[in-house]
């Protein structure tokens, strides 16, 4: 197992949409990744109540799980999201940053299973939880058909 090795640093700037949202790595370890999504008016879904749109949290969860799956897969492989479910546990305030911690549940030969939790004020008060599975693929340059 590669659990003993330090995972290669994750470069979120590789992904244009992740860079556009300003998502940053807070902490990275083997099998664990914590990201931060800066709050901003562009992410509001309910203008009457000043709440974030759920989809912004969905994107943060997919980014946390997806980059963790990529970092956990054998070097040189790519990953593709098979499915991702998010439960919205509480409304997300539009003026606070959102954090997400993703953990690998299992890194199998073909699939990486991840789970994640998101919060604003404290990890003890989660606003969302997620479960995702990611297919490990050959890199596109090798001619794999998505």
């Amino acid at each position: 197992m590669a659990a003993e090795q330090a995972a290669p640093p994750i470069d979120l700037e590789l992904s244009p949409h992740v860079a556009a949202l300003g998502i940053e790595v807070v902490e990275q370890a083997a099998g664990r990744l914590v990201l931060r999504l800066p709050a901003g008016p562009a992410l509001i879904g309910d203008p009457d109540r000043g709440l974030l749109f759920g989809g912004a949290v969905y994107t943060l969860m997919d980014t946390a799980c997806g980059f963790l799956a990529f970092a956990s897969a054998p070097a040189g492989r790519h990953v593709a999201t098979l499915d991702l479910r998010v439960d919205y546990l509480a409304p997300a305030s539009g003026d606070r940053d959102v954090f997400a911690e993703a953990l690998t549940s299992r890194v199998a030969r073909q699939v990486v299973f991840c789970r994640a939790s998101a919060w604003q004020e404290s990890p003890a008060q989660p606003i969302a939880s997620a479960l995702g599975s990611f297919m490990i693929n050959e890199p596109p340059a090798a001619g794999a058909v998505p």
């Binding site: 992904s15 949409h17 759920g54 989809g55 997806g66």
Partner: protein, 156 residues
């Protein structure tokens, strides 16, 4: 936050014009993604124009999975708003997306099907496609609360 139109005002304007545009313009995140919508036989069909800023994997390239998920979630919410009498924004409870095909650098479309519209909660299926509706890029199953939150709106 700019004090824009309330959702109620925007929805009323959209209904008068029989055009979902004003409703979408009142939802900042929908504007951020650049979503549009049209009515097809009374049903809402949303459109996500491609641009590079929506790409998640630049090697394929493919849209970010989160963008596809958010697009499906917005489609569900807009569909419910359009159907409802009132203008209470639906609140997502669960959102589960299957990613069926790589979402290439092209425009995407989506349509929601309400499986059950209850008094308090709706269950929807949403499909997104690019070139061919018969070859969806993603399908979602969503549950959304329909009632106004109590008190300060911080309770689910």
């Amino acid at each position: 936050m700019t004090p824009g139109k309330s959702l109620g005002e925007a929805l009323a304007a959209a209904r008068r014009a029989e055009d979902p545009g004003p409703l979408i313009a009142a939802i900042p995140y929908a504007v951020t993604l650049g979503i549009g919508a049209r009515l097809e036989a009374g049903a809402l069909v949303t459109r996500l124009p491609f641009r590079r800023g929506l790409v998640g994997n630049p090697f394929l390239p493919a849209l970010h999975g989160g963008v596809v998920g958010a697009f499906l979630e917005l489609t569900a919410a807009l569909d419910l708003l359009w159907r409802q009498e009132g203008a209470t924004p639906p609140r997502s409870v669960t959102m589960s997306v299957d990613f069926l095909r790589s979402a290439g650098p092209r425009d995407s479309f989506a349509r929601a099907h309400v499986a059950r519209l209850g008094r308090r909660v709706a269950s929807l299926r949403v499909e997104a496609w690019q070139d061919d509706p018969a070859r969806p890029i993603a399908q979602a199953h969503a549950h959304m609360l329909l009632t106004a939150p109590e008190g300060d709106g911080t309770g689910t």
